[in-house]
Amino acid sequence: MIAEIRAKARELLENGQVRCFIGYEEGTRGRVRPAFVYEPQDVDRLIWDERCTHNLAVYLHQFQHPLKRGEEPPRVGILVKPCDSRSLNVLLHEKQIERERLYVIGLTCNGVRVNGQPQERCQRCSERVPLVYNLVMGDVPKTIGREDYADVARLERMSPAERLAFWTQEFDRCIRCYACRQACPACYCFECVAEQLDPPWMGIAMDLSQKQFFHVMRAYHLAGRCSGCGACEEACPMEIPLSLLNRKIAKEVEALFEYRAGQDVETPPPLATFKKEEELPL
């Protein structure tokens, strides 16, 4: 598979269809990291295997502006797994990126591994083929996961006091480094609520109520927008189970509004529309 990826990337770069190809490359100490290939002869740096966990859609924001003043914004090639393709759909749906400036190579996915451990989110994943692509590679995996939100249900069975204790202990460890926000393709606000001075939503103090406010605010702002790619959880240095928050929102949005993030670019997003006669549990 990697040979075809490299061949296609070289072709795209050679005929000038893209200025940069975003993929994965071998990092240091056995780790994989995002790769940015500008020259055709560098495509051999590209790799593809189970360690390629990063959601590369987050880098598309930085290619919205011309590389040099006066130039057109660059056309970019990008590799997407099924979950990344959902993030891409969210960005396209929210008019953040023009589809024609992207050459998307979709890769079927059998689940990724972090430090050799298969990821839970992949065992539950039912979409093994990307939803948006110019070209798709890889055979369709047979094993399909089933989404049961078991992890969220475990927390829901707790009493409110137990849940408060759980989240208090988790948020207490947060160091407000914002790796979760910066790794998330859906978080592209120019000035995040966390840094806004007017209105001063949050202070700079590293105390618990600020951290709780930030994480609950971010979870809410991902309603109908989080593609479940796990980038936030994998970036968190304090190993806070952030997907437990985002998946609760995803579960409720699906239950209340039958909407799943990134499925297409036509269905109006859940919180931007309504049905007059709908009955919702307040």
């Binding site: 990063h54 930085q62 790794a183 590293m206 970036a235």
Partner: protein, 326 residues
Amino acid sequence: MNATTRESLLAWLDGLSKSMTLIAPQAVEEQICYRPIAESSEIVLDFGRTDLPAKEYFLPSTHVLFSIERGDKGVSIEEPSLERERVVFGLRPCDARALRVLDALFLEEEPVDPYYAERREKTTLIGLACREMSPECFCTSLGLAPDDASDVDLMLTEVDGGYAVQVVTEKGRVLLGDLIMEEWEGTLPQVTGREELPILEAEAWPQHFNHAYWAHLADRCLSCRLCTYLCPTCRCFDVRDYETPNRDIERVCAWDSCLAEGYRRIAGGHDPRPTKMERLRNRFYCKFCYYPKDFGPIACVGCGRCIAKCPVNVDIAEVLESVAAL
């Protein structure tokens, strides 16, 4: 040299925690962090390197510079101060050296930072030598050693049957008090070092300032604050006022990061470092060029925390090798 057993060491630490705040490595979920300890059984003794440095107890992530009471007789300023003496146990040589690096700025440069000075002065450091270097460690490239005792008050080294105790400073000797020890003749275990990374000296960095390498490196950077908050020698802070529930005002000083977008943006919008390349480059130049030129020591102790936790593998050791080869 003397040595003590694990039991008497923990008993002694329990004694200390009666009169002082005992801060030691503690398991928090699957991580090890320095935390105030109630009793010594909570202390973790075998760990590679804590996930967070001890910086929190000298440059706190948040602390109040002073509070302003607006009474009827006008405004008055109250400064907080540290009530209890403290002891930080289980400090690795790299974290101890990091404090020495911060001393060069906060104590040896005029004016002295009173908050940092008080915390340093009211704290005794008990080091714990490393048994072996973690994969990401490169302290030996910075002139440090996994068993280097020069920056702590007392140094413990794990030996068969307990811990060898080296008294380094008067402050440490005073703290020993009633720790049960006996003579110990053995030799301290040697920790195998690692071949050293090539680190350019400060004067050689400016020539690479405009090299394309930085743009290539910064492409994948997420511009988050992780590496600066995990770093024992990063010391940028932000200051702002906040109103407390009882209507007093507190001037809060909290961690900040030169990688944060808008770190240098002044009111009105001008930003001398608008792109993440300039911000990421500044992090390496500050550590290996500016800090040594301005204040003396290199602002890196090779602890490897940023290497271990950077989500996109911006590996400082790789950067040093690449820059040396530019």
